[in-house]
Point group: C2
């Protein structure tokens, strides 16, 4: 089943072509303005002629269109190229025990359709839930524009889970789902090329305009506290998709008991403050943890999400930024931007769809 081969892979001409095509698409996706062939050549290091050939293939595939002309810089003006958003779409699913969200994104990241529903994750049998999901996805896909290629389906779900195999791993309170081949069955039911299952926090980190460089951490404060790590632009999952256990760093070895068994976990401290209806204190603790994270991983950007964050949207960004500034030795050298996730409450579903788009457009 292993779609993802961790092993180092040999590259051939087809891989070379796809790699360069993905590179060009990625650059066009990053800059809303679009770019010309010469610009792409400069950015990729390829010769202009090679870019011309690559762009020619992308034009033939309908992924890219010529969009007018730029200003002249003394000679023939540049022909601007732009991604054609309606050339493809991806489905993103936030799978939650209470309320699941299913949405469709086009290549530009615009939401074409969004529905929320209780899919019966906790009550129903896994097979039935997959069937219901498949039905909802089929409905959603019909919202895609004519000729839009469905690139795949992304599912964001609370962990633990295994990204490689696409299965949940001992999910709390859902014994029937342990090891259940969620991704595999979804793939079979849907007849869609690309089905991916990842942790909610991991995909939520993707639901923001891609930073050109550097690393981003998404902090999710809801029923629990977790993080999604985008290190040098790529999701860091770890060998067991276990990375991002941000909430269980011990910050007070003699602190309050946490559900995980330890004492003084960051999550326990935040939750205790929230139970006291004291988001200020929770935000300060979150900031201490964020500062630890920033120093450990040299993070450039922090995104905040989860319903506890949105309950006090003015409190958290400021408190977190303050703590980071206080703990960094040189805040002017490493300036960390802290903000709410732009996708708001849909961050997980949007990010799940973005994961698919990234994989399809950026993959080998």
């Amino acid at each position: 089943m292993g779609r993802m081969e961790r092993r180092p892979a040999g590259a051939n001409l087809a891989g070379l072509r796809d790699h360069n095509a993905a590179l060009v698409l990625g650059l066009l996706r990053a800059s809303a303005e679009g770019g010309s062939r010469v610009q792409l050549a400069a950015q990729t290091g390829l010769t202009p002629q090679a870019v011309s050939k690559i762009v020619g293939r992308l034009l033939a595939d309908g992924l890219v269109v010529e969009a007018g002309r730029g200003e002249s810089t003394g000679g023939k003006p540049r022909t601007l190229l732009a991604l054609r958003p309606e050339a493809g779409c991806a489905v993103g699913i936030e799978l939650d025990r209470r309320r699941s969200t299913i949405l469709v994104l086009d290549l530009a990241g615009t939401t074409l359709r969004r529905r929320s529903v209780d899919i019966g994750l906790a009550s129903g049998e896994p097979e039935r839930v997959v069937g219901a999901l498949a039905k909802r996805v089929s409905q959603a896909v019909r919202a895609a524009p004519d000729g839009a290629k469905v690139l795949g389906v992304g599912v964001g779900c609370r962990g633990p889970l295994d990204y490689e195999t696409g299965t949940l791993h001992r999910p709390a309170g859902l014994p029937a789902w342990d090891g259940f081949p969620l991704r595999g069955l979804l793939e079979e039911s849907l007849d869609v090329p690309n089905v991916l299952l990842d942790k909610d926090t991991n995909v939520a980190a993707l639901a923001a305009p891609a930073a050109v460089s550097g690393s981003t951490a998404y902090l999710h404060l809801a029923d629990g506290l977790g993080a999604g790590l985008l290190l040098n632009g790529a999701v860091h999952r770890g060998a067991r998709t276990n990375a991002g256990e941000f909430g269980h760093q011990v910050l007070q070895p003699d602190g309050p008991q946490c559900t995980c068994g330890a004492r003084g976990c960051l999550e326990a401290l935040c939750m205790a403050a929230l139970a006291d209806d004291d988001p200020q204190t929770a935000a300060r603790w979150l900031g201490v943890g964020a500062a630890n994270l920033v120093r450990l991983l040299d993070i450039d950007r922090i995104l905040l999400g989860g319903h506890q964050i949105f309950a006090s949207p003015d409190v958290y960004p400021r408190a977190v930024a303050d703590q980071i500034a206080e703990h960094l030795p040189e805040p002017e050298w490493q300036s960390v931007r802290v903000s709410l996730t732009p996708a708001g409450a849909s961050a997980v579903a949007v990010g799940a769809a973005q994961l698919v788009i990234d994989s399809a457009l950026g993959g080998i």
Copy 2:
């Protein structure tokens, strides 16, 4: 000067060739046994014929030799291939204010020569220190076997520094070195193709047999406490080479004052315990921090180094392993190996040389 382009790079045929050659070399380097062409084909996903061509080029370059035959598996026995260790060498330098180490490694990682000397880092002018270093490197290179290509020079140094530009950034107590073009000048003085400057903790993480998969953290407890992170096999540096600030995670917001200004940093707690001549307590604190790290990044292996570790080599690995086992929810699922760095006190210098070898053999 930017040798390292962070920007995504277009790939051409030369890049394809080098990539595949590096892949084959890496596999031969990883398995001491060596391997045959068919094995390499299976591991890389390339066709046997492609591997034959690649190996042919490597044989012509003298990087690889045919080393006997394997057992037959029912047909013609496999021709074993092995890396030729004496085909190349790399110089590794641990640059320290008290005692610097300069050594030469062959491709197999065997130390051919090692010298330690006070290079006068704190007292001398930077230019003079670079001159002295260049002289020592030239002497060391003469120890290389005839025909061995000198792949480059790696320098491991205490941070903060900038890997991209190869300069130190406001090193404590060494104002003359701030922004001094250490790498650039060394490169000019030495006439060696590849000079790299990296943090001591980062390179030390490389001074161990490469893990086939997963992530490694090297924890360095000496005058300070830092970490080197090998995430999915690659050093994670962050945009400012600032990652690895492991010692300044706050573990006790009302704890002892740290030199960094904060209170209750892990480093301050460890140092306080060591000042009380209590390595057991220091080791337990280190373990708490390590457990946080393992949960956050899904680490597979922990390596310990630094002279405080070697002062009590029996205490630390056990205490760290115990803390990790205690804090992990499923120790049997994520089993973390904890050990002393096999390179011992030479870990930084060995790792610096390994960084060069990795770059030369594995780079584009």
